[in-house]
Structure formats: C-alpha cells, structure tokens
C-alpha cells in the first residue's frame, strides 16, 4: 500500500518533470536556431546541404558518447572513462580485423570490451560504494594504459575496406553514423521515458535514499547506466575507426568533457535526477555547429574555446532562471 502511494507520487513527479523538460528543450532548440541564423548570415556556405550534413557527421560521435553520459548523469553519476574505453575497444577490434578475424566477431569483441569497462565502473561504484568521479578518473588512466600497452603506442592502420565502407556509407543523403546515432537516441529516449529502468534512473539520481526505500534496485540501476555508457563508447569508437581507417591508442582524448558539455547544454544536472535525451542531442549539435561555423568564419581555435565556454555558462544561467529560485 505504502509502495503504491510512493509510486503514484513518483509518476506525478515525473509528469511534472516532463513538462519542465519540454520547456527546457524548447529553450535549447531556440539557442540552436539563433546560432544557425547567426552563422548563415556570416557564411554563405553554412546552410548548404553538404555543410549541414558535415555538422551532423561531426556531432555524431560526441552525441553517441553524450547519450550514455546523460543516462549516467541522470542516475547521479559521472563517467570520465569514456575516451579510454573507446580507445581500448578500438585497438582490440582493429587488431582482430587486421589479423584476419571476420568483421562481425571482431565488432562483437569491441562491444564486449565497452560493456566490460562499464561493468567494472558500475560494480566499483554501486557495490564497492566508491565515488563515481574518483572511480572513473582511475579507470580513465587504467583503460588508456591497456590500449597503450596492448599496441605499444602504435596506431593500427589497416582496417578492412568493407568495414570502412559501411561506416562511410550513406543511406539516402544521411551518413550511416548519423543514422546509427539517431536510432541510439530513439532507443535511449524510450528507455528513459517508457521503461521502469528509466524511471529508476530518474529516481536514483533524484533521491537515492527515497528510491531505495520505495524498492528501486539502486545498485542494478547504476550498473546499467555505466554499462550503457561503456557500450556507447565502444560504438562511437567503431564509428571513428570506420571513418579514419585506423585505430589509435590515443583516440578519444578529452571526449568526456565534450560529452558532459553537450549533456549540460541540453539540461542535464550533475546533481542527478535531471536530463534530457533530446536536449543532449541538441547540445551536441550546438557544439558541432559552433566549431563548424567559427571555422568557416576563420575564427581561431582560441576564440572557439571562448565561445564554447560562454555557451555552456549561458545555458546554465537560462536553466537557473527558467526553474525559478528554488
């Protein structure tokens, strides 16, 4: 009976979160539109189809990582180890393909590595009760070292042409990586909004103690978030290996920061319990569009960094104002 009431309360809370999320997403979208209008007045190339596809293509990898990051952040954690996880998955998959393993099993091994990296993070955080920031800071070094030691620091430059052709291909006008990330986003949205696991993530991130009392499997929920994040890191790695035709052990450097930036611009709160799949996608596109537009305007990288910083802080301020003073 008591459990029933809490669940009712939870779903009312989630409904009100939904409304707020729509408003917040509309804000991010308006930001994106303003940025697009600005750049289209500055460069005639910006709004061409080829360039828009460029922006989506360049945002795809960050978006893929950021979607996993969003789920982790919503459930109250952080995953700093995504870049090295990606690098480890990339070098193992590429080496397997290089030594003659067929593409599919090699790709499966890559995904398994991503999942395993996420699982280790999750177990240390949920079972050993260590802090997410510190655990993933540790595995950031650990996973990177695995990639470096395994390859001796050397890039693996031979990747089968059919593997590359798949990731460099297009369906209709859209590059395959963009479609893959689109599908991932839809699945993530359904998971977050239409399944119990999504509800658990919001509950655990919102108030872990309350969630535990109302019977949410807290540990399992957290572990799932890190496993998904690890899996998506390995997916992003494979996309990149397909694009570059090479796997480098230093791949994925600082990906975690771009992903956190995209999630934050999209409305995720590092306190947990709050975040949006659509918002994160828009956030990733905003970052990609800024980089692209500023390059077209021939603005140097130092100023691009400045613009990125301002956008993040502006997004946070807007967030604060729309939510009122509480």
């Amino acid at each position: 009976m008591e459990l029933q009431t809490t669940q009712n309360q939870t779903s009312t809370r989630i409904r009100s979160v939904n409304v707020r999320e729509y408003i917040r997403n509309a804000g991010t979208l308006i930001g994106l539109i303003v940025i697009f209008i600005f750049f289209s007045t500055q460069s005639p190339v910006f709004l061409t189809e080829a360039n828009l596809i460029n922006i989506l293509q360049q945002s795809a990898i960050n978006a893929c990582i950021a979607l996993g990051m969003t789920l982790v952040i919503i459930s109250g954690g952080i995953d700093l180890s995504v870049g090295p996880t990606a690098a480890t998955a990339a070098v193992f998959t590429a080496t397997l393909m290089f030594t003659g393993t067929p593409v599919l099993p090699a790709v499966a091994v890559g995904f398994l590595i991503g999942v395993a990296c996420g699982l280790i993070n999750g177990l240390l955080i949920a079972k050993a009760k260590l802090q997410p920031f510190i655990v993933t800071l540790g595995t950031l070094s650990l996973y990177r070292s695995i990639a470096l030691i395994y390859t001796g620091g050397n890039p693996i430059l031979s990747v089968p042409p059919d593997f590359r052709a798949f990731f460099n291909g297009r369906m209709g006008n859209l590059p395959v990586p963009v479609i893959i990330v689109g599908v991932v986003a839809v699945i993530a949205w359904i998971l977050l909004r239409r399944t119990p696991l999504g509800e658990y993530m919001l509950a655990v991130g919102g108030n872990e103690e309350a969630a535990r009392i109302s019977g949410v499997p807290v540990a399992l929920t957290k572990i799932s978030a890190y496993v998904i994040s690890g899996f998506l890191a390995s997916l992003a790695a494979l996309i990149l290996v397909g694009r570059l035709g090479a796997a480098e052990p230093i791949l994925g450097n600082l990906w975690e920061l771009d992903a956190i930036a995209a999630a934050a611009i999209g409305g995720a709160s590092l306190m947990g319990g709050k975040g949006s799949i659509i918002g994160t996608l828009l956030g990733a596109i905003i970052l990609g569009a800024m980089r692209n537009g500023l390059t077209l305007m021939n603005v140097q990288a130092f100023y691009q960094l400045l613009a990125t910083g301002l956008i993040i802080i502006l997004a946070m301020l807007v967030d604060r104002l729309t939510r009122g003073s509480n």
């Binding site: 360039n51 460029n54 001796g152 620091g153 460099n168 480098e248 052990p249 450097n253 990609g288």
Partner: protein, 358 residues
C-alpha cells in the same frame, strides 16, 4: 593541316590512355614513410630541378590546417606560410585545433575548410590517422593536399618536412664529438606512438651506440612533449645516475624542463642537454649558457618551402613525393652563423647541404 590535327588528336588519345593507368597507380601508392621514401628531393634543389615557381592569373587561395597554435613551432610555421604567400601574391588561411590532443576537433576544422573551395590544402595532422577522412575527401574533390611535418598520413601523395631520424643522429654525433671519453646519457622521448618521436629516439640511440663504444643509454623514457613531466622524469634519472653526462630531448619544451631539473640538482657543468625544434625560449636558454644546443628544424623556412611546393604542384610540376626541409644543431658556437646580426639563414643552410653532399 588536317594531318596535323589528326596527329594531335591521336596524341591526345594516347596521352589520356596513358594517364588512366598512371592515375590507377597513384591510388595505390605504398604507405608513406617520410624518412625513407626514395622519391624525394631537397628543398634547395627545387629551383634548379623544376625552374621558377609558377604564376597564376587568378588569385590562388591556400588553406592550411596546423596542429595547434599553443606551440610556438606551429605559429612560426604559419609565419612561414604567410611570408611565402605575401611573396608570391596568394592568399593563405590558417586554422588550428585548440591543443595538441584535439584530434576530432582538427578533423572538423579540416572538413569545414573543404567546403570553402581552396585551391590546395596544407595539413599538419595531430596523429597519423586523424585527418584521413578529410584528405580522402579532398582527393575526391580534386584538391591537392600537402602533408607538412610531422605526423605522416600513410596515403599522402605529397610530404614536406625534415628527416626525423637525422635529428637524433645529429644529436648523437654532437655528443660523440664533444665527450671523447663517453659516459652515461638519457633520452626524454615525445608522445609514445608518434612517428617523429620514435624516429628521433631510434636515430640517437643507434648512432651513439654504433659509432662509438663509450656511451651507455641508461634511460629512454617518454616525457609526452610536456615540460613538467620531463622535469620530474629527469630529476628521477639524475638521482639514479648522478654521473650522467647528457640528455637528448625530442623537443625543446621538454629540454627546458630537463634544464631546470639539471639546475636544481646543481649539475649544469656536468650534464649537457640537447633539445629539438629551435623555439625562442630554447635560444634564450642557449644564450644564457644553460641549454647546450637544439636541433633547429627552421619552422619559418619549412612553412615557406611548403607553400612554395603547394604552388609548384598547383602549376602542374611533377615534384617527388617528399621534399625534405633542413635542420641543424645550433649551439652557442655556431649561433651567429644562422641567427646573428646580418646572418642569411637560407644561404648558410644551402652551404651546409652542399658540404654534406661532398
């Protein structure tokens, strides 16, 4: 007349017919190793082998993507591009990534630049692989790409840069010449897995152990191009080997860190530090008598040569795949010859090169 026309038509067909297999061959160039590629020439021989730099009726626009502007080396390279662009009356636009590890950012910049219709692109990739999609796309669009120092794109058709291995060889020979009694030396390497770092270290270690039997390389560890890390590493090595006589560092940033560690250990008299690149801080240190020398690869000159190569390619000159640029080990003794008042760096380097050929 008609006969001539027919002959001409036949000639055209034959030429086209021949060029098709040539193009197919070009697509299958072997992976580039810029140090050992046999199809190469020296920067100062371009003029005598291929004549003057072609001129163009329309304004030529050159796009350049550098590693990052945080490192002075790449700023100087950009200066060289600009010098040559002013000299030949063309436009050059230079863009660079935020730092030396922003590989995807640099790719995004290169891809955005492809939409701006440059006539030719000069790229200095962050890693051997990160710009491959942009280079492939440029080749599809028919925009020639020149890979400029120091990561090597294996599919690159044109490369301008110095022989990385030679850098280490020069450092080793300096030690052999200046320390006739030999002794213990250490190497502070750049980022693991970077072509230049590997080649420089290999050149040094092989030369100092084969051309003399009095030296022992007691440590060869990565400093990741980083001053702080190099400082710490050098301090540790000095503790372990207080009788060390010298460090060879894969770049100047690390060498300056090592110099600080040597100073802190009060060993400046005994331990000689040799750096690489020739940045202005390194020269300040050399003139102050702290850093013993640096293997300068003349970034400004390299930039000038790279832009010249770009224009020659655009004008249809069939240059070799690799055009190598100069380097020289500069110490307090020969500083004036290259950088002293009224010194002509170009002339001095050409003289060096001609000496070396004899």
């Amino acid at each position: 007349m008609l006969k001539n026309l027919r002959l001409l038509a036949l000639l055209v067909i034959v030429v086209i017919g021949m060029s098709v297999p040539v193009m197919a061959q070009e697509a299958e160039l072997p992976p580039l190793d810029s140090d050992t590629e046999p199809d190469r020439t020296e920067w100062w021989q371009l003029e005598e082998q291929f004549g003057p730099v072609p001129t163009f009726e329309e304004k030529v626009r050159v796009g350049a993507v550098a590693k990052t502007l945080i490192n002075e080396y790449w700023r100087l390279l950009g200066e060289g591009y600009q010098n040559a662009a002013d000299n030949f009356g063309v436009d050059v636009i230079l863009q660079a990534a935020q730092n030396e590890a922003d590989q995807l950012g640099q790719l995004a910049i290169a891809e955005a630049m492809l939409t701006l219709n440059f006539n030719i692109l000069l790229v200095s990739p962050q890693s051997d692989a990160n710009l491959i999609p942009a280079v492939d796309r440029a080749q599809e669009l028919g925009i020639p790409v020149v890979n400029v120092n120091d990561a090597v794109i294996s599919t690159a058709r044109h490369y301008v840069g110095n022989v990385q291995r030679d850098n280490g060889v020069r450092a080793a020979r300096w030690f052999i010449e200046n320390f006739p009694d030999g002794g213990k030396v250490a190497v502070i390497e750049g980022q693991a897995g970077v072509y230049a770092a590997g080649q420089r270290t290999e050149g040094y270690t092989t030369t100092i152990t084969t051309e003399s039997d009095k030296f022992e390389v007691v440590a060869s560890v990565p400093g990741n191009w980083d001053r702080q890390l190099a400082f710490d590493t050098a301090a540790t090595i000095l503790q372990q080997h207080p009788d060390l006589i010298g460090f060879y560092c894969n770049n100047d940033t690390m060498a300056l860190g090592v110099v600080e560690a040597v100073k802190a250990a009060n060993l400046l008299e005994q331990v000689a530090v040799i750096g690489t690149d020739g940045i202005s801080d390194a020269y300040a240190s050399i003139l102050a008598g702290e850093l013993r020398g640096t293997i300068d690869s003349f970034p400004v000159l390299t930039g000038e040569v790279a832009l010249e190569v770009a224009l020659r390619l655009l004008g249809g000159q069939a240059l070799p795949r690799v055009v190598s640029t100069p380097q020289a080990l500069i110490t307090l003794d020969n500083y004036d010859r290259y950088y002293g008042e009224g010194a002509d760096t170009r002339a001095a380097l050409i003289e060096d090169a001609k000496m070396a050929m004899k």
